[in-house]
Subunit: 331 residues, 2 copies
C-alpha cells in the first residue's frame, strides 16, 4: 500500500468510527432502568427544555433545585419506616442499661416482641420510643450509632442491607439531574441526623443538602471539649405543610422539580408548582407486590390517598407506576 493510500484509509476509518460512535453516545440512555413510558418522557422533556439555552423555559444553573422525599421515594418504607426499625433495635440494645423498661410501656411490650401492644399508645408511644433512642448522646455519637446499625442490620423480608433497598431508577434520576446542573436535595419527614451519615455515599447527596425532621441540640462543654448534645425535645417536623417551610429554611429558594410518593409530599409539590416557569412534579406509586410492595390509600405508612390522586390529576402531576414504569426496582 502506498503511503498516501494508507493515510487516506486511516482518515476514512477514523471518520467512520466517529460516525459510528457519535450517535451511540448521543443516544446513551441516562435512565436505563426506566421503561419508555410517560414518566420517563416527562422527565427528559422537562430537563431538556430547562437546560436548553435560548429556550423560553431555560433556567440558570443556580436555580435548578430538585427536592426528593426519602421514605418510599428514594428507598423502601415497608413494613415500617426504616428509622423506626432502627429505634426498635436500639431499644433492645439499650435495655440492659434501662432495667425500668421491663415494667414501663411502650418498652415492656416491645421487649417482649409485642409490637402491636407497644404501639397501642399511638403517637405518644412512638415519640417516647424515638426520644429514648435518639436523644441524650452527642451528635458525633449518634452518627456513629447510625453508621454501625446500617452496616449490619438487615431488612426483615428481603434480608438485604437497608442501604441496598434504594430504588435504582431514582439513583439514575439523581445522577441525570446533577449531570444537567441540578442541585439535588432530600426533603424528608425522617430524621435529618438519621439520614446525613449515609446519603452522600448512597445517593451522592451531601449532608448540607438534606432537610428533615429534628430534635433540639445544645452546645456545651463535655470534659472541657465542645459538643452538641441531642435533647429529648422536638425541633421541627418536616412533613406535609412543614415541607415547604423546611425547604424555605434550608434551601432558601423554590424547587423547580419535586418528587414524592405520599400525602406527606402534597404541599411540597404544590409549593414547587406555584413558582413561575417550567415545573416538574412527580409521585411514585407503590403497586408492585411482586418486586416490592403494593400499598396506597389504606396504608398507614406512605399513604397515597384518593384525595392525593385527585390532586395529582387536577394539577397535571406525573404518577409513576413502579410495576409498569420501572424495569428494575433495586440495584
Amino acid at each position: 500500500m502506498k503511503r498516501n493510500s494508507f493515510l487516506l484509509m486511516m482518515v476514512v476509518m477514523a471518520t467512520t468510527a466517529m460516525l459510528a460512535i457519535s450517535p451511540a453516545m448521543a443516544q446513551t440512555d441516562p435512565l436505563p432502568s426506566w421503561n419508555d413510558s410517560a414518566p420517563k418522557k416527562a422527565i427528559v422533556a422537562f430537563v431538556e427544555k430547562v437546560t436548553r439555552e435560548g429556550s423560553p423555559d431555560f433556567v440558570p444553573v443556580p436555580e435548578r433545585i430538585a427536592t426528593f422525599d426519602n421514605d418510599g421515594t428514594l428507598w423502601a418504607e415497608q413494613p415500617m419506616y426504616f428509622q423506626f426499625l432502627f429505634a426498635l433495635d436500639r431499644v433492645k440494645a439499650l435495655a440492659p442499661t434501662h432495667p425500668e423498661w421491663k415494667d414501663k410501656e411502650p418498652f415492656a411490650s416491645l421487649l417482649k416482641g409485642d409490637l402491636k401492644a407497644a404501639l397501642a399508645g399511638g403517637e405518644k408511644a412512638m415519640l417516647e420510643i424515638v426520644m429514648a433512642t435518639h436523644a441524650g448522646m452527642t451528635t458525633d455519637e449518634f452518627e456513629r450509632i447510625v453508621k454501625d446499625w446500617l452496616a449490619t442490620a438487615k431488612h426483615p423480608k428481603t434480608k438485604r442491607l437497608y442501604t441496598e433497598m434504594v430504588y435504582q431508577p431514582m439513583l439514575e434520576l439523581l445522577v441525570y439531574l446533577r449531570a444537567n446542573g441540578f442541585k439535588t436535595f432530600i426533603v424528608s419527614g425522617g430524621g435529618i441526623e438519621f439520614m446525613r451519615p449515609w446519603t452522600e455515599k448512597v445517593y451522592g447527596i451531601p449532608p448540607e443538602q438534606v432537610v428533615g425532621s429534628s430534635i433540639k441540640t445544645k452546645f456545651e462543654l463535655r470534659d472541657g471539649k465542645p459538643a452538641l448534645v441531642r435533647l429529648p425535645e422536638l425541633n421541627f417536623i418536616d412533613d406535609k405543610a412543614g415541607k415547604p417551610v423546611g425547604i424555605n429554611e434550608h434551601v432558601g429558594r423554590r424547587p423547580i422539580a419535586a418528587f414524592g410518593n405520599s400525602d406527606g409530599d402534597q404541599q411540597m409539590l404544590e409549593w414547587t408548582q406555584a413558582g413561575p416557569g417550567a415545573r416538574l412534579m412527580l409521585l411514585v406509586h407503590h403497586d408492585d407486590a411482586v418486586r416490592e410492595f403494593a400499598y396506597g390509600s389504606e396504608s398507614k405508612i406512605g399513604t397515597f390517598s384518593d384525595a392525593l390522586r385527585t390532586e395529582a390529576t387536577k394539577n397535571g402531576w406525573t404518577v409513576i407506576s413502579m410495576k409498569n414504569d420501572w424495569k428494575r426496582i433495586f440495584p
Copy 2:
C-alpha cells in the same frame, strides 16, 4: 529571513513568553488587599496544607467547609446592624398604615426621631420593632422589600449603598477559598431572609449556604395560591452557642475554617477547632477609626471583649488588625 529561521524565532519567542508568564501566573497574589503580615500568611499556609494531596493535613473537597459571620466580618456593622437600620426605615414607611403607632412605644419615639427613647425599652422594644417590620407578609413579598431597600438606602456616614460596605479583603478570601475547593457559608446572628436576597450577588454565596436567625413561617393558601407567611414569632437565634447548633442543622458537618469578629462568634470558632486535623480560626478586629470604625470591648454592637481576646490567645486564633493587616477596606 528564511522560513526556517522565522519558525525558529517564533518558537524561541513563544518559549520566552511562556517562561516570562508562568512564574508570574504562579505568583499572582490571590489576596492583593492583604498586607504580607501574619493573618495572610496563616491563611495561605492553611489552604496550601489542606489542599496538598499526600499531605498529612489533606482534607477531601466535600469536607472543606468554611463559615463566615456577616455583620462586622464580611460587611460593616456601625453605627448599628444594617438590618436594624432597615427596620427603622420600614417603621417610617409603614407609619401611614399604622396610625396607632403615634401613641405607642417604641414606635412613637422612633417616628419623632428619638432613637434613644425608642430603645429605652431594651430587647423587648427591639423585638417589637423587628416583628412589626419583618412579619405579616409572604416570604416572596419580604424578599422584594429587602431588595428594594438595598437598591436605594445609603449608609448615614459614608453615603454608600450598604452592599458597597463589604470588606474587599474578605471578598478576595471567599474567592480564594472557593478556588481551592472550599464551600463557603454565612453563619450570622442576622436574619436569614434578610441576607439571602443579596448574598449570592455580593459574596457569591447562594441562599442555601446562608445560616441565620429566623422567625417562624406558615404554609397556607392565599387566594388559592400556596404561600409562606412570615409569623411574628421567633424561630431560632443564630448567635453565640446558637451558631454551632445552626451549623449542625444547616450544614451537617463541622467547618475546618471559621471567621468572626465578636463575642457572638466564640462558640463557632471553638466548635470548629474541636474537630480533628488542621483548623483555621480567625477574628477581625475593628481598630481603624480613619478608614472604618474603631471599637472593641466597650461596644454594644460587635463586642470584642477582653475575655474573647484571652480566649483567642489561649487557643492560637489569628486576630486581624484592620489597620495593620488590610491594605484596603472597601471595594
